[in-house]
Symmetry: C2
Subunit: 197 residues, 2 copies
């Protein structure tokens, strides 16, 4: 595992997704790994941390996840713009070399039989909370986060540091047709201690 | 209605949320309007457009929405940073002057008995698709988008123009503790026509 990767306090794991980045979803079953991009993933709860992700029935990644009930949500970086686009447009079903062709490199984390995508800024290992009705009707999956890690060069002590980190580590926010935005400027609201009491 | 506000093609309405902005949720029932902030809202489907939003049981806005089954999701701007923070931290239950104190101005759109927040960049009028189990268990609501509008100075012809618009119109992406990021730089992946065929 890369020396920059460190576990994230589970109480702060929701912050890895709170700003709405486009993510990569990965799964593993029976010797097959797949990775797809998803703009439609969102935090759902603080503690234990939960998230939602929309997984189209046509995706091979969903088929893998349905076999094991486990998956990884990871936050790709500006350096992975093309990779993110490519794994979101090519299917493993039509191109068995998808991951290699998309320049995806995988790594392992001890204790998790899941494929983690190297070069991302954050990783959330998840367990599907089975909700068959919404999975079938809306392609909507609920995951409980069972492990969280981040690249300490851009997320440390429970906070993103996009404003100080290498710009190549910024998160991606997909629109359509290959068009993305990177995350931008940091800004703070005035916090009234009385209001938050 | 502000002269800059124009309807958005329903097939492109998902793009208003695709980049994961923090949103404002508003509801109206029996003469009461409320507005709250939500970082946990996400696109769910293209056509008809659907979305998800997490509404805590403690919020007054949820109580209004449960009465009518309708609500508005709107995308606040950098100019509304403090407003967004304030409506997300104060409850109408404890402060009846919440909206006034947060400098929220509402406007109407013909045909919708809902409070729209002035100064946002996009508005999605929604109808709750009742899913009582996930509403109760996860505070997760599914909405079908029944009307969509945007400020043409920042979203036109189905595309965001953050890179050319007034920076005050950028979307906000909340982390925690009053800390936000604005959306940043536009970037494009190389789109292979053969791959997308």
């Amino acid at each position: 595992m890369d020396s920059h990767i460190a576990p994230v306090d589970m109480k702060k794991a929701y912050r890895l997704l709170n700003h709405g980045p486009t993510v990569l979803v990965s799964g593993r079953y029976d010797g097959v790994d797949d990775v797809m991009a998803a703009a439609w993933s969102c935090a759902l709860d603080f503690s234990p941390p939960k998230l939602t992700v929309v997984l189209d029935k046509a995706t091979r990644t969903r088929a893998l996840i349905e076999q094991t009930g486990t998956f990884v949500i990871q936050v790709p970086t500006v350096a992975q713009l093309q990779l993110t686009h490519d794994v979101g447009t090519v299917s493993l079903a039509s191109d068995p070399d998808k991951l290699q062709r998309s320049a995806v490199k995988l790594f392992d984390i001890d204790g998790y039989d899941l494929p983690f995508v190297a070069g991302c800024s954050a990783w959330l290992a998840c367990k599907v909370i089975p909700e068959p009705h919404i999975q079938q009707t809306y392609d909507l999956f609920i995951g409980e986060v069972v492990g969280a890690w981040a690249d300490t060069r851009v997320f440390e002590n429970g906070h993103w540091n996009f404003e100080r980190a290498d710009p190549a580590l910024r998160s991606l926010h997909y629109i359509a047709g290959g068009q993305f935005y990177a995350i931008g400027e940091a800004m703070s609201a005035v916090v009234d201690p009385a209001v938050n009491a």
